[in-house]
Symmetry: C2
Subunit: 138 residues, 2 copies
DNA sequence: GGCGGAGTACGATGTTTATCGAACGATAGC
DNA sequence: GCTATCGTTCGATAAACATCGTACTCCGCC
């Protein structure tokens, strides 16, 4: 498979600011690609895994959720792996709130970058109106 | 990565019919998933590879092409691998014509199965009107 | 200050994937 | 029948990927 951001890639800077959380999203140490840096192949790769597709479908229904709230059928370290793939592909945005990460879809960035792509994937996954594919709603 | 149709999977039946080629597409021994069997994750996986995305983008511009006609920068065995992934995901249809395979997009099947998905991916790849992403046209 | 929870980093394992070369089969043309 | 072409299969390699357990950090709460 083509090399994508994944395990072994340089981790996000771990320096901690003294500011309280949610001062500004940019204050969080998690790195996110700029909208123009989002690569189509990385987005499609991120969405091609059933676990990650499930995460994205759930976020489409209810945004701003913590990692734990998805109740994924894998261990915490695997969850961390999947959320990182989604974040580094530019599909989700994560920001720190205390000990949790609030995850949300980068809907506007993705729509600007690849118009209609996210919506068509979500429809295909059975989210939103007219969905007839696999059940993706948690 | 999740298990998909790929290397090692049961090959298409190798029985040969005595009928001349292109009598009917169904006479070709290549197996294609029925439209309702096309899985979203497999389609996204197939399209997440830059080489396969290039193939699909080229077919969007000019359908019914032979494997060789794409002039892909990989060996013939790797080409065979990629075309098989696309066919088994249900993205392309292949039919035999002499020593060649004619490849074409399963546009209608994909549109019926996942409305808008292929078009949005092609736009994102820079094919068709309004495309502004990476150059995908050969 | 201690405890619990959320999530991470690290290292490991097993599987999947993309790549290739060599040998081969099928077809077309002569 | 021979040759050339297209494409395949097989086996191999290296890299990528999903998975996990362990130990850890950080934060919130008491």
């Amino acid at each position: 498979m083509s090399t994508y951001a994944g395990q072994g890639m340089a981790a996000a800077a771990t320096a901690r600011l003294v500011e309280p959380p949610s001062v500004r999203e940019e204050a969080d140490p998690l790195s996110h690609p700029a909208a123009h840096e989002i690569a189509l192949a990385a987005v499609l790769h991120a969405l091609s895994d059933p676990m990650r597709l499930r995460i994205v479908a759930a976020l489409a229904v209810e945004d701003k959720r913590t990692c734990k709230s998805f109740n994924l059928p894998v261990t915490k370290s695997t969850c961390t792996h999947h959320f990182r793939v989604l974040r580094e592909a530019g599909v989700i945005r994560q920001r720190l709130e205390g000990t949790t990460r609030l995850n949300s879809l980068r809907r506007e960035d993705l729509e600007a970058r690849f118009p209609g792509l996210l919506d068509s994937v979500l429809r295909a996954a059975g989210v939103a109106r007219g969905g007839s594919g696999e059940a993706g709603v948690p």
